[in-house]
């Protein structure tokens, strides 16, 4: 079916809210230098200073401005989330296409690979690898990309294989279309909806993973990351500092995940014919 995703999203209440939530995040990330009142890497004053007019959320244990840390943390979260989502989706797509076009043996190998990867507890392996690689932003992007592609690949492969059997592809090849044409003009466009959903879900999962790793302290300590903030703050959990130091990054993580989840849910329900009661077509 031809659906305009943008319209679908805007029509869907959840989708609308999710879009607004995510847009705000993106704006904050882009405008971080202008929004942040202080340089979050610079010592501002007495560590663990409670909130004041100057430091709205106080200072952390090494005297950095917590609000500015939060604002810069948005950048890390989105950068990691979006990069991993894009790269892992690309891997998934490449494998799915290879499985569909490469013949039975290639497909079997790819399916096997996906199945094995799906059995493995991804997060535990991420921790294991991360311990040795002391990850910065780039390493964590590479690592999570390599670990997170399998679920997407499974769905995309199944979909690509079923698309391949569709008659309009047979029709195209009966007009003399080659594999390249079929991939670019039919398979990939037909996969767009699924790719979009996968991308959104991947951002959500990555944010989860990144926050978890940082919470365990497995992240470059010079980076500004919400998970890392919680990691440090949790050592001071029984002082009053948790109210302005621990809660805000936690809530922001939830905010981000929920924002993307809302978009994902809206997209999925517009894709699932069972859940789509009022189909809004465009093209008139």
């Amino acid at each position: 079916m031809h659906i305009n995703y943008w319209t679908e999203l805007k029509r869907n209440k959840f989708g609308r809210i999710g879009l607004i939530m995510v847009s705000i995040l993106v704006l904050v990330a882009l405008a971080a230098p202008f929004l942040a009142p202080h340089n979050p890497w610079v010592y501002q004053g007495q560590p663990l200073t409670p909130p004041s007019e100057e430091y709205i959320l106080g200072l952390n244990d090494i005297g950095q401005d917590i609000l500015s840390e939060l604002i810069y943390g948005t950048r890390t979260t989105l950068l990691v989330g979006v990069s991993v989502a894009v790269f892992s989706t690309l891997i998934s797509l490449a494998l799915a296409l290879a499985a569909a076009l490469g013949g039975r043996i290639v497909d079997r190998i790819i399916l096997r690979l996906i199945d094995i990867m799906l059995i493995l507890p991804v997060f535990l392996i991420a921790i294991l690898v991360a311990i040795y690689f002391k990850p910065g932003v780039v390493t964590i992007i590479i690592m999570l990309t390599l670990l997170l592609w399998p679920p997407g690949a499974r769905i995309l492969r199944a979909q690509t294989l079923s698309l391949k059997e569709r008659q309009h592809l047979t029709a195209a090849s009966s007009f003399g279309a080659g594999k390249g044409y079929i991939v670019y003009r039919h398979l990939i466009p037909d996969l767009y909806p699924l790719l979009t959903v996968n991308l959104i879900q991947m951002v959500r999962r990555t944010v989860f993973m990144e926050a978890g790793l940082a919470f365990l302290g497995i992240f470059d300590p010079t980076q500004k990351s919400w998970g890392l903030m919680i990691h440090y703050a949790s050592e001071f959990i029984f002082t009053g500092a948790w109210k302005w130091w621990l809660l805000p990054p936690g809530l922001l993580i939830s905010y981000t995940i929920i924002g993307f989840a809302l978009i994902g849910y809206a997209l999925e329900s517009s894709l699932d014919p069972r859940l789509r009661r009022n189909i809004h077509y465009v093209g008139h």
């Binding site: 569709r166 047979t170 195209a172 009966s174 007009f175 003399g176 037909d190 077509y281 093209g283």
Partner: protein, 643 residues
């Protein structure tokens, strides 16, 4: 007896020189019955008049009668030939008899000319003849304007016979007569022809087939094909002959009529090369440059650069094996298509009939080049299609198109009408953006859809089932294919839309001149559309032949069953002539054995091969028995007696 050689007849008119006959050669042996068929304007009558020495215009070439050159004869010589040796019954156009003399007087006149004064003899002979042609005495003295068309025609025949000529030329002897009179006249002429040589000129094929044994097809002054009348009319070799036959309605025609595409050519400025090439579906460049000679072929002669209607698509011994889950998860194989062979000729409609599961769709996909057969070969114009590579393969895709069963699935729902129809052109890299848009609009126009921007920008789900099917037809036709394979194109549509769709397909087939391979489970429908019909059962072709033959005389019990079960509006519930019995040994014998009411022990042992039987081919040991049964059918006996 009569030997016409390179006869050329031209007329000078205000518009210029008109070429009515062009290098016409025809031999007629004593006692032979020859027919000449063709559209009006093809020069039939001029040919007859030339033989009679009555033609107005420049005549070149030669017409020899018993070795004598007729064209050298002077008027006084002719008087000794006409009526006495060669006589002609002119086409009755209304005033062939002089209104001021009685019929008898006019019939006697030629006799008296030859035998002056022998009035008594003349009277006896004339009244005998008039009685013989079925006129009563009160007609003898009637003035022509009081007679009916049939009575005048009889009179004309009597007049032509009065001097007992050797050669009788009948020009449209049955035109403008009602069916009963015509039947009577044909019987009369048939009787007369017993001891005469006759040349019948007619556009009425049913008259020609009954009166003649050999026929020549005349088109725009040229003979296109000659051959035994029956096989020429049942299986014409020349595209024009087939077009002529296709346009002619008979009682046994089941198929809808199709006219001949294009217009009859101007005789003032005749087309260069083969006169038929502008209307021909298989014309090559050569056809427009060089006139083909009449070349002797088996049983006749043919004037066609391409050697007659060519075979476009041919599948031989096709087998397609599929794995299937067997007992205990074992993989077993079954043959969806099991040794089927199909030939599709240029510009024809072949209907493939069979119940669901008989392998029709698989066969269609094999022939369309999208499902490689496990065994067997598919040839498109003598090139094996699955071994084609690169450019040639791409070219094949252009000329061979398939319409899928369900239009909903055959289109991408992401694409708009314009993109859908344009897609084949884009893939093939034909034309630039602008010419492609033009092509899309033309293709849509062909199938009766608007080409405006509003429609071009519609999505498939915004179209009705019929519209969408038309779009897929337009998409298939946009590359002007030579072959269109249509897999139950109307199965998903309701009856009223289905009728329109098939009419459209037939119309397009005729106008665009592609060959249509139509797959359907509905025999009634196949009969309406197909020139030929093939019946498929369990992956095999069990019977094949011209639609009219197969419908009248089904030779395979399965065809008979399908015919009985074909939709009808009769209230009676048809009795299913179908048995269920077990074969002694699975995998041997006739595949239809289990259901066959006529089967014998031989059928359970040996698989019948596909054998020629008249114009049909049938794979049945018991075909002879079925044929006999058909012949005994009282209904057909009745019909035969009337004719």
């Amino acid at each position: 007896m009569l030997d016409i050689n390179n006869l050329k007849v031209t007329f000078d008119t205000r518009m210029g020189e008109v070429n009515v006959l062009n290098q016409v050669s025809l031999k007629i042996a004593p006692g032979e019955r020859v027919g000449i068929i063709g559209e009006s304007g093809s020069g039939k009558t001029t040919l007859a008049l030339s033989i009679m020495g009555l033609v107005q215009g420049q005549v070149q070439g030669s017409i020899k009668y018993r070795g004598e050159e007729l064209l050298d004869k002077r008027e006084e010589d002719w008087e000794k030939i006409r009526s006495k040796k060669i006589s002609m019954v002119f086409q009755n156009t209304g005033e062939m008899l002089n209104p001021v003399y009685t019929l008898l007087d006019q019939v006697m006149e030629p006799y008296l000319k030859v035998n002056p004064g022998k009035k008594k003899e003349a009277f006896n002979r004339a009244s005998n003849l008039l009685k013989k042609v079925g006129l009563r005495e009160d007609h003898f003295y009637a003035y022509p304007f009081t007679l009916s068309g049939g009575e005048v025609q009889r009179g004309l025949i009597a007049m032509a016979l009065i001097n007992d000529p050797e050669l009788l030329i009948l020009d449209e002897p049955t035109s403008a007569l009602d069916a009963l009179t015509r039947a009577e006249l044909i019987r009369l002429l048939d009787e007369i022809a017993q001891n005469k040589t006759i040349l019948v000129i007619s556009h009425d094929l049913s008259t020609v087939i009954k009166l003649t044994r050999r026929t020549a097809v005349l088109y725009a002054g040229s003979i296109m094909e000659t051959g035994p009348t029956e096989s020429l009319l049942r299986e014409p070799k020349h595209p024009y002959s087939r077009a002529l036959v296709r346009a002619y309605p008979t009682r046994t025609t089941v198929k809808d009529l199709q006219g001949i595409r294009g217009e009859f050519p101007s005789l003032v400025e005749p087309p260069s090369g083969c006169p038929f090439h502008p209307r021909c579906t298989q014309a090559l460049e050569k056809c427009s440059q060089e006139k083909p000679c009449l070349v002797e072929a088996e049983e006749g002669a043919l004037a066609c650069h391409r050697g007659g209607i060519i075979t476009l698509l041919r599948g031989e011994n096709l087998v397609r094996r599929f794995p299937r889950q067997g007992k205990e998860g074992k993989e077993i194989y079954f043959n969806a298509v099991d040794g089927a062979g199909v030939t599709l000729k240029e510009g024809e409609i072949l209907a493939l009939v069979g119940e669901s599961g008989s392998g029709k769709t698989t066969l269609a996909h094999i022939l369309a080049g999208i499902n490689q057969p496990t065994e067997g070969k598919v040839y498109f114009q003598d090139r094996e299609i699955y071994s084609l590579k690169g450019r040639e393969k791409k070219d094949l895709r252009r000329r061979l198109q398939i319409l899928f069963q369900n239009p909903q699935e055959a289109v991408s729902h992401r694409m708009m009408v314009h993109d859908l129809v344009e897609e084949p052109l884009e893939i093939q890299g034909i034309g630039d953006k602008e010419t492609r848009v033009q092509g899309v609009k033309e293709a849509l126009g062909l199938v009766g859809l608007p080409g405006d921007s509003f429609f071009l920008h519609k999505y498939p789900h915004e179209l009705s089932g019929g519209e969408l099917q038309r779009v897929t037809i337009a998409r298939a036709l946009v590359m002007k294919p030579k072959v269109l394979i249509a897999d139950e194109p109307s199965a998903s549509l309701d009856a009223s839309v289905q009728a329109k769709m098939l009419k459209l397909l037939m119309h397009l087939q005729n106008e665009q001149g592609f060959a249509l391979f139509l797959i359907t489970h509905d025999l009634a429908l196949a009969g309406k559309v197909g020139d030929r019909v093939a019946v498929m059962f369990l992956g095999k072709i069990v019977e094949e032949g011209p639609t009219s033959e197969v419908f009248r005389f089904p030779l395979h019990p399965y065809t008979e069953l399908l015919l009985d079960m074909a939709p009808s509006l009769e209230r009676e519930v048809p009795s299913l002539r179908r048995t269920v019995k077990l074969k002694e040994e699975e995998g041997k014998g006739c595949p239809y054995y289990a259901h066959c009411p006529y089967s014998t022990e031989l059928c359970s042992r040996e698989e019948p091969p596909l054998k020629e039987k008249g114009f049909q081919r049938v794979a049945c040991h018991r075909a002879a028995a079925l044929e006999k049964k058909n012949n005994n059918n009282s209904y057909y006996k009745e019909i035969k007696k009337v004719l």
